[in-house]
Structure formats: structure tokens, C-alpha cells
């Protein structure tokens, strides 16, 4: 069944009309027929009202005919709405189908295709260019049928009224039919040029945005602007020409359509004066003739939509008309379960333009053997790995995977047997868990991640995380989560137990790295608001963001003599921060240590200018709130641009006692005060375990903290729970909330979890630190050796000793192959790579 289906790029535009819902189209036709009738009826009524009712003074007849008239108008309007609705449904359905089919097709296209295709182009093709085609499919049956029928109905009516006049007024249409297509052809030509130009333009935009680092780095704004501006200018001219032709189609049509009443007035008027035509008939004729113009206009508009849609549709489909290199699933059998042997015979790969990337490669690996590919960059090692992984289709020779030719295998066969970790792995938006399960889920082919029994268990996932060394990071994500009161009460009470345990065992040892919450001490790593309230708010009006506009709190600040000092501190923070960060872009690195958020910078910049001119007590209430907000956020341990005034410290400590006293009396439920027996819902799990805040981001200290926390969590049997929470961490679009190393570890973890028979790693550990790299290498040496056949492209030569075979590549060929010891003893290419050229002389 799959085979007979035409690929989407080969389908014609009208084929979408055929494939749309037959029932809807039939209903549409029926409605149209009724409408046509409902449109002609008022004309006849009009004539009868004048000729019969008014002329003979028949009131009853007048009411009757007017009633018919009204009913016809109401029905016509209602049906018109229904018709548009139906057309809309049909059109949007076709558009959605087109978008889906084309997207599904594009994803299967070979990697080579995407080398020359910018993402922007794909986006504009899918989103913009197809829209008119969908629009056309919706109109394709309804509009022409309705218009032509109405046209004929009116024409027939006109002929019935007066054949002579009808002949005269209809005579103009053949002229229009000769002229319009010629103009439209020109418009189509311009339209084609416009589609192509828009395509290069969106490609250019895509390129500039993805290369924005390079543009900033080189300050090459002008070069890029010039390129872009030039294209826009060209597009501008093309669009003008295109639109001019489109308008001229309309104008010519208008002109001729307006000519016809002129003819009718002349001839009809003459006949009426001569008494050879009654007045009612002339009125009816004139209004019928006016109405004939509507369906005609619709027909012309439809013609233009059709022309525009077919140009865009064809151009889009032509562009993506390439054949996927491999079938997705085998047609007539179950996917293979292959054994992990690899046989490469006389393999060659010619890239486009006749460049020989691989030439005469021969090698063979038994199941479970491990091969390292080394060599200078550009020697073809990655290409070889990618050919084995079916990412590139080799042009000569053979690759046999478990005895089967790789070129003939379907994608499904490949993903069932191979795990591929690329040099720059991609992380998709979603949680850590989604990303870890990515390979397994696509192997199983299920959309629902959780439900399937065949999916890896939590233990399996944790093991994969541990193997790749991202476990601690995930644990950290878990620890940095803020629990929600309604969902996690059980966990919260367990964490309080962990808190005691932690304090007992590690409190002293880690005292240098953690600032514990203590009622009598000022907390340099918490903000001023937390220092004052010394608790976490349970109501919205007392949260940090609202505190500066909370009347109760403001009165308290006055009472505690804090208002002026805090405003002065806020002003100083504002001045200093704006001075340092005022001209910097809103990047995370710059704002990590700033009390002003990147999105507030402009606001505070203006406030800083006002501060220079105005005394504090003359500031507007809004400005005062802004300053107070800054001051309440101030964390002396992080925001280093301003020192903490010691007088303020004492005032705040006094204020803390005062606040507790008064809020306990006035609004007892508003805060949960920091006490060793209470979970603090506004703080992270980690801060709750500490019952304090970390003072450091130094990796050594963090490692020591992690070790102690892990130990305590294991003893309290909570480690898995926290890691599970951590696995729900959202990695951001393209995984931008993870570091490069974390992304690479995640990519390895998802392939390890799949446990494929053949593992291909293309410099998979290049972004990792030494320790992680060593950990993964030792896993490959022990756990995976004999289990999975491994082909690893390796850049660093100190980790290849344990491989069964090492192939040194040079200029697309294998220069030498053997074990590490043999090759080093031979003092050939590997020796040269390791010890450098000079030393081998």
C-alpha cells in the first residue's frame, strides 16, 4: 500500500481537491444550487413589484412579493455564510494535510539536502507559501460552480427579459476572456520570481540569525545589512511589478464590466422612449445586469487565486522534490535483529562536485570488537563513521552490517541495531527524561513515553545517567527545585528529616561553604526582604515582588526607621549597576550578579538619570517603589557593586524581631518563619536541606557538598526521588539551559540506554572534562566490550590504547590498522601522530 502512494512533492494541486472530503463537497454543491435560485428570485420579484403591484395598486400583491423578496435575501445571506464556512473547513483541512505531508517528507530527505537548505526556507515554505494553495482547494469547487451557475442563470434571465439587450451587454465578456490570460501570464512570471526571491531572502535571514555570534564577533553589521538590503530592494521591485499586473487584471475587467451598463442605457433608453420596452422590464434588466457583475468578479478573483496558488505550490513542491535515500520501514518483513559484525569492502564515497572523501576502505569487525578511527581532521574518519551509520549513502563498495548491505536496509533496521552519537548532539526542548528516552522511544515507535512496558525503568535510566556522569547534574536540578505545598507535603517532611541528619553529620565540615539560617545573624547570602521577614510568605501580597507595594509592610518599614536607609541603598544600587551594566546586552553572564534584571535595565537607566537631578524625597511614588524593590532584593554576598552599610545591618536585625512580633499579632498565617522544624516552600530543596544558602560556586566546594548530600540522601533512601524530580527539569529550546558537556553526556546516555548491538561514537566525548571522558572510556572498555561493536572517531590519542583495532586515516584512506602496541612499535603514522613529526626522524 505504501508503495503505490504518490510522494507529496509529486502531487498536483488539483489532486488535493479530489482527496478532500466528498461529502462536504457534495453538500457544498447542493447549498450552491439553492443559493443560485435564491439570488435570481429577487430580480423577478422586483419586476413584478413594479409592473404588477405598484402599477395596478395591489397592496396585497406588494406585501406578497416583498415577502418573497425578503425571504430570498435572508436565505441567500444565510447560505452564503454556510458556504464560506464549508469552504473554510475544506481549505484548512487540505492546508493542514499538505503541511503535514510535506513536513514528514522533508524530515526524510538526505543530510546533503540540508547542507544547501537554510532552515528559514523550510519554515517559509511550510508556513507561508502553502497557505494560498489551501485557500484554493477550499474555493476550488464552490466558487467556480456557484459563479458560473449564477452567471448562466442571470444571463438566461436577461435573454428571457430581452434577447437584444442581453446580447449587447454580454458581448463584452468574450473580449475580457481574450485579454485577461495574457496579463495573468505576466503576473505569474513575476510571481515565480517573487517566490524564488522570498526563498533566498528567508534563507539569508536564517543564516544571519544562526550566525549572529559571528556577526557580533566581527562587528560585521554593515556587510550583513548591505546584503540583506540589496535583496529587499530586488524583492521590492519584483513585488511592485507583480502587483501592477494583478491590478491591471482587475482594472481591465472593471473597465469592460462598466462598459456594459453604458450600452444598455443607450440601447434600452432608446427602446423605452420609443415605447418598445416597458419601464419595469428596463429596471429589472438594469439591476440584473448589475448583479451579473458579482459572480463575474468572483470568477476572476478565483482565477487569480488559482494562478497564484499553482505558481507557489509548484515552486515549493519542486524545491523539495528529492527522493529519500532509504525507506523508513521494511515493506514485507519484520525489522532485522542483526548481529554486530561489520564488514567494509572497497568502500568509496564521492561527495557532490566529485570530491573523493573515502577511497578503497577495507576493514572487518567481529561482534563486540572495538575500533578507533584516528587521523588528521579532514582525513575522512567522521565520514566513514557516518557512512556506516547510514547518514551518508556511500557511492561505491559495500558495508555489511551483520551480513546485510547497509545501503539496502531501512531506517527502522538501522535504529533497531545501531546507536549513533554525533559530534554535536542535539537536545530537544522538553525534560531531561524526554531526552534520555528519545532513542528508546523512537526505536519502539511509540508516541506515548510513559505507558509502554518495554520502556526502560527508572533504575535503567538512573544507571545510564550514572554511566555518563550526568547523574550529579540531574541530582542538582532536582535539588534546585522548589516544591509546591499542595503536591509534595509528604516529601517535605522527609526532607526535614534529611536536614537534621545533614546538620549532624556535615554541619561543621561544610560550615565554610554554607550560611545557615540563624535568627540572630545577618544572612549575607539572602536578600534584605528575607533578612527582615526571616520566613517565607504564604500569601501572594507578601512575596518579594509585591512587598514594595504592600501597605502593611511599608508602614512597618516606617515604624522600624528603615525606609530612608533602604531608599538610599536602592538609589546607590541603581546608580552603580546602571554605571557598570548600562550599555551591555541582555546576556545571562552579565546579569547573574546584578540586582537589576536584564528586562528591567532600561527602566532603571531612566530612573538613574532622574536620580542625578532629583533629591530622594522628591522622587515620584513609582520611582520610590522601584528603588525599594531593588534594595529588598539586595544580597551582599552576590551583588558586589555596593557594600552593605553596617548601620543597616543592625537596623534590620532589630526590624526582624519587630516584624515577627507584629505580623504574628496582625496576620498570623502570612509567614512561615525559618525554623529547623518547618519546611520552607519558597526555597529550593537544597536550601531546605542546608537550612541555609550556599556561599560558593567553586566546583571543588560544590563537589564536596554534592558528596555529602548524596551520602545523606542514600541513607535516608531519597536519592532516587530527588533524581526523578531532577529528570523533570526543562532543558530549554535546543537544550540551552544545559552546558555543552551536559548535552553531550545526555546524548551518550540516551544511546547507552538503548544498548544497541553496534555503537558509533563520532568524537562523542570531545566537550567533556578529563574525568568524565575517562569514566566513559573505562565503561566502554569494561561494560560494553564484547557486548556492542564499537566504532569510535577519536581526537585525543591518550584514550585509544585499549581498542582492539586502531585505524589511522589519511586523505580518505586507511593508512595503517592494527593494535596500539603494534602500530607504535612500527613507528608509522600513529607514532607520528602521537609523538609529532620531528621525533620520528
Amino acid at each position: 500500500m505504501r508503495k503505490t502512494e504518490t510522494p507529496v512533492v509529486k502531487r498536483s494541486l488539483p489532486s488535493w481537491i479530489r482527496s478532500s472530503s466528498f461529502k462536504l463537497q457534495a453538500l457544498l454543491l447542493l447549498l450552491i444550487l439553492i443559493t443560485v435560485f435564491a439570488r435570481v428570485l429577487p430580480l423577478e420579484m422586483q419586476k413584478r413589484i413594479v409592473n404588477e403591484a405598484i402599477r395596478f395598486g395591489e397592496i396585497q400583491m406588494l406585501f406578497l412579493y416583498c415577502g418573497y423578496y425578503l425571504a430570498a435575501v435572508v436565505i441567500a445571506t444565510g447560505l452564503k455564510y454556510l458556504i464560506s464556512a464549508l469552504q473554510n473547513v475544506i481549505g484548512e483541512r487540505a492546508l493542514a494535510d499538505m503541511r503535514q505531508a510535506l513536513y514528514h517528507h522533508i524530515l526524510t530527505l538526505p543530510l546533503n539536502f540540508f547542507r544547501k537548505t537554510q532552515p528559514g526556507l523550510v519554515v517559509s515554505s511550510l508556513v507561508t507559501e502553502l497557505a494560498s494553495a489551501g485557500n484554493f482547494v477550499g474555493m476550488a469547487i464552490g466558487v467556480p460552480v456557484a459563479s458560473i451557475l449564477t452567471l448562466f442563470a442571470f444571463a438566461g434571465y436577461l435573454i428571457w427579459l430581452n434577447p437584444l439587450l442581453a446580447g449587447i451587454s454580454l458581448s463584452i465578456y468574450p473580449m475580457v476572456l481574450i485579454l485577461l490570460p495574457r496579463l495573468q501570464q505576466q503576473a505569474n512570471k513575476a510571481n515565480k520570481r517573487r517566490v524564488d526571491k522570498t526563498r533566498t531572502l528567508s534563507g539569508k535571514i536564517g543564516e544571519a540569525i544562526s550566525g549572529i555570534h559571528e556577526i557580533h564577533g566581527n562587528g560585521s553589521y554593515r556587510i550583513e545589512n548591505r546584503r540583506y538590503d540589496k535583496m529587499i530592494e530586488k524583492l521590492y521591485k519584483i513585488r511592485i511589478v507583480w502587483n501592477l499586473y494583478k491590478f491591471s487584471v482587475k482594472s481591465v475587467n472593471n473597465f469592460f464590466s462598466n462598459l456594459s451598463p453604458f450600452l444598455v442605457f443607450i440601447v434600452g433608453g432608446y427602446l423605452a422612449i420609443k415605447g418598445r420596452l416597458d419601464l419595469g422590464a428596463l429596471v429589472a434588466f438594469i439591476s440584473a445586469q448589475e448583479k451579473i457583475y458579482d459572480p463575474w468578479k468572483e470568477l476572476i478573483a478565483f482565477y487569480q487565486v488559482y494562478q497564484d496558488a499553482s505558481v507557489r505550490y509548484k515552486r515549493t513542491m519542486e524545491y523539495f522534490d528529492e527522493v529519500p535515500e532509504h525507506t523508513l520501514e521494511p515493506d514485507d518483513r519484520e525489522p532485522y535483529e542483526l548481529e554486530g559484525s561489520i564488514e567494509v569492502k572497497d568502500l568509496s564515497f564521492l561527495a557532490e562536485g566529485g570530491i573523493q572523501l573515502l577511497d578503497g576502505i577495507n576493514l572487518s569487525l567481529k561482534p563486540g570488537e572495538q575500533l578507533a578511527l584516528v587521523g588528521f581532521s579532514g582525513s575522512g574518519k567522521s565520514t566513514l563513521a557516518q557512512c556506516v551509520g547510514q547518514l551518508y549513502k556511500y557511492t561505491g563498495g559495500h558495508i555489511l552490517l551483520g551480513g546485510e548491505e547497509v545501503a539496502d536496509l531501512s531506517k527502522k533496521d538501522m535504529i533497531n541495531n545501531i546507536g549513533f552519537v554525533s559530534q554535536t548532539p542535539f537536545t530537544f526542548e522538553g525534560t531531561i527524561k524526554d531526552n534520555v528516552l528519545y532513542s528508546c522511544a523512537s526505536k519502539l515507535g511509540s508516541d506515548e513515553i510513559d505507558e509502554s512496558d518495554a520502556m526502560p525503568s527508572l533504575d535503567d535510566m538512573i544507571e545510564a545517567l550514572q554511566q555518563t556522569g550526568i547523574f550529579v547534574d540531574v541530582l542538582r536540578f532536582g535539588l534546585n527545585t522548589i516544591l509546591v505545598y499542595d503536591e509534595h507535603q509528604g516529601l517535605a517532611s522527609k526532607i526535614i528529616r534529611v536536614r537534621d541528619h545533614f546538620k549532624r553529620e556535615f554541619g561543621e565540615e561544610l560550615a565554610d561553604y554554607v550560611e545557615f539560617f540563624a535568627e540572630d545573624n545577618y544572612l549575607y547570602h539572602s536578600n534584605i526582604a528575607a533578612n527582615l521577614t526571616f520566613g517565607s510568605p504564604n500569601v501572594e501580597s507578601f512575596t518579594l515582588q509585591n512587598l514594595a507595594v504592600n501597605d502593611y509592610f511599608l508602614r512597618f518599614l516606617d515604624k522600624a526607621d528603615l525606609t530612608r536607609t533602604l531608599l538610599a541603598l536602592g538609589a546607590e544600587l541603581c546608580r552603580q549597576t546602571v554605571d557598570i551594566l548600562g550599555n551591555l546586552p541582555p546576556e545571562k553572564v552579565f546579569f547573574e550578579q546584578s540586582p537589576i534584571r536584564a528586562d528591567e535595565l532600561d527602566e532603571y537607566k531612566m530612573l538613574a538619570t532622574r536620580l542625578a537631578k532629583t533629591k530622594l524625597h522628591h522622587l515620584s511614588p513609582d520611582d520610590r517603589t522601584g528603588l525599594l524593590r531593588l534594595a529588598l532584593r539586595f544580597i551582599p554576598g552576590i551583588h558586589k557593586m555596593v557594600g552593605m552599610p553596617s548601620i543597616l545591618e543592625e537596623l534590620i536585625l532589630e526590624g526582624r524581631a519587630l516584624f515577627k512580633e507584629s505580623i504574628s499579632k496582625d496576620d498570623p498565617g502570612a509567614f512561615t518563619f525559618y525554623q529547623a522544624s518547618e519546611y520552607i516552600y519558597s526555597q529550593t530543596i537544597l536550601d531546605n536541606i542546608f537550612f541555609g544558602k550556599t556561599k560558593t560556586v567553586n566546583p571543588q566546594a560544590e563537589e564536596r557538598i554534592d558528596q555529602s548530600i548524596i551520602q545523606v540522601l542514600i541513607e535516608e533512601d531519597l536519592l532516587e526521588t530527588i533524581v526523578e524530580i531532577g529528570m523533570e527539569f526543562q532543558v530549554g529550546s535546543k537544550g540551552d539551559r544545559l552546558s555543552g558537556g551536559q548535552r553531550q553526556k545526555l546524548a551518550i546516555a540516551r544511546v547507552f540506554l538503548k544498548a544497541p548491538r553496534v555503537l558509533i561514537m563520532d568524537e562523542a566525548t570531545s566537550a567533556l572534562d578529563n574525568k568524565s571522558q575517562a569514566r566513559i572510556q573505562s565503561l566502554l572498555d569494561t561494560r560494553w566490550k564484547g557486548q556492542s561493536t564499537l566504532i569510535a572517531v577519536v581526537h585525543r590519542l591518550d584514550i585509544i590504547k585499549s581498542y582492539d583495532k586502531i585505524a589511522v586515516m589519511k586523505a580518505g584512506r586507511i593508512g595503517e590498522m592494527g593494535t596500539y602496541d603494534d602500530l607504535v612499535a612500527k613507528k608509522g603514522m600513529l607514532y607520528e601522530l602521537i609523538y609529532g613529526k620531528k621525533a620520528s626522524i
Binding site: 557580533h216 564577533g217 562587528g219 565554610d512 554605571d579 557598570i580 551594566l581 550599555n583 551591555l584 546586552p585 546576556e587 553572564v589 552579565f590 550578579q593 558586589k640 557593586m641 560558593t696 560556586v697 567553586n698 571543588q700 566546594a701 572534562d769 578529563n770
Partner: protein, 150 residues
């Protein structure tokens, strides 16, 4: 820190702001041999030891203390450490990461040539000192010098 001497006042403020203060305890590593950490350290107090480990064991290459600025080269680009830097006493340092440095220098593009100049000058004068100190250089070592030729 002559590494930053080339900076304008505004740039200097930004760089000063981006440094973070860290404490290290005796035995802590500021960085490890073979790591590509990309950090630079200005020692405010305490003493650190530079050491290198190979098949024959670990040997100390020197000590650094208050006021020294180490690791500036690592800010400029990917570099795997040839040595480890280990705290011998309690230490307080100002730390700059490569990420922060790169992002900040992007904002002041005209500074890059001057930073490079400072770097080149330091490499040259470092090797020059090596030659002036004739007694400290053995004959085999003499044949291998030439860092400033790169």
C-alpha cells in the same frame, strides 16, 4: 594585574564586576592537569603550588602567592592545563571564567588587540628572563626553548 592594564575605565568596571570571590582550602585544586576549565585566578591571599604529574610521579614546579594573576591564557581560548594548581594554605581568589571574559570582550572589541599585545609581551619577556638567567638553564634545555618563536 597587568593583563588588564590595557583596559579603559568603563571596561575595567565591567571586568571587575564579573570577577567572583572564591575560597579554597588546603588541598583544594584551583584547576587540574589536562582539564579545560578556562578560569583565571587573582590570588588575594594564601599560597598555591603548581605541579605536574606524569608516569614518574608528581613534581612541584613553583609556588604562587598574594597578588599573582594566573591562567590568563586560558581565558583566550580552549586550552588543556599542562599543570595542576593546588592550594597549600587557605586561599581567597578572584576568579574569571572564559565564558564571562569572551562575552565581555565582545562588548569592547577594540580591546582585543591590546590584550593580545600584553600577552605577547609577557611571553617574550618570560623567555628573555630565561636567557638572562644563564646558570639556571642546562644545555639540553637551551636547545628546546623558543616559545616566543610560535
Amino acid at each position: 594585574m597587568d593583563f588588564f592594564s590595557a583596559l579603559s575605565l568603563q571596561a575595567l568596571k565591567v571586568f571587575a564586576y564579573l570577577f567572583t570571590r572564591e575560597i579554597f582550602k588546603p588541598g583544594d585544586y584551583l584547576f587540574h592537569q589536562d582539564d579545560n576549565d578556562g578560569n583565571a585566578f587573582h590570588i588575594l591571599s594564601g599560597i598555591a603550588e603548581v605541579a605536574r604529574k606524569d608516569e614518574s610521579g608528581e613534581f612541584c614546579l613553583g609556588k604562587y602567592g598574594e597578588g599573582e594573576f594566573l591562567g590568563g591564557l586560558a581565558l583566550l581560548g580552549d586550552m588543556r592545563r599542562l599543570f595542576s594548581l593546588k592550594a597549600l594554605t587557605d586561599m581567597t581568589c578572584l576568579v574569571m571564567t572564559r565564558e564571562k571574559f569572551t562575552k565581555a570582550i565582545e562588548q569592547f572589541p577594540d580591546l582585543m588587540p591590546r590584550v593580545l599585545e600584553t600577552m605577547v609581551d609577557r611571553i617574550r619577556s618570560w623567555e628573555e628572563r630565561l636567557f638572562l638567567d644563564k646558570d639556571g638553564l642546562c644545555d639540553t634545555c637551551r636547545k628546546k626553548v623558543g616559545v616566543s618563536l610560535i
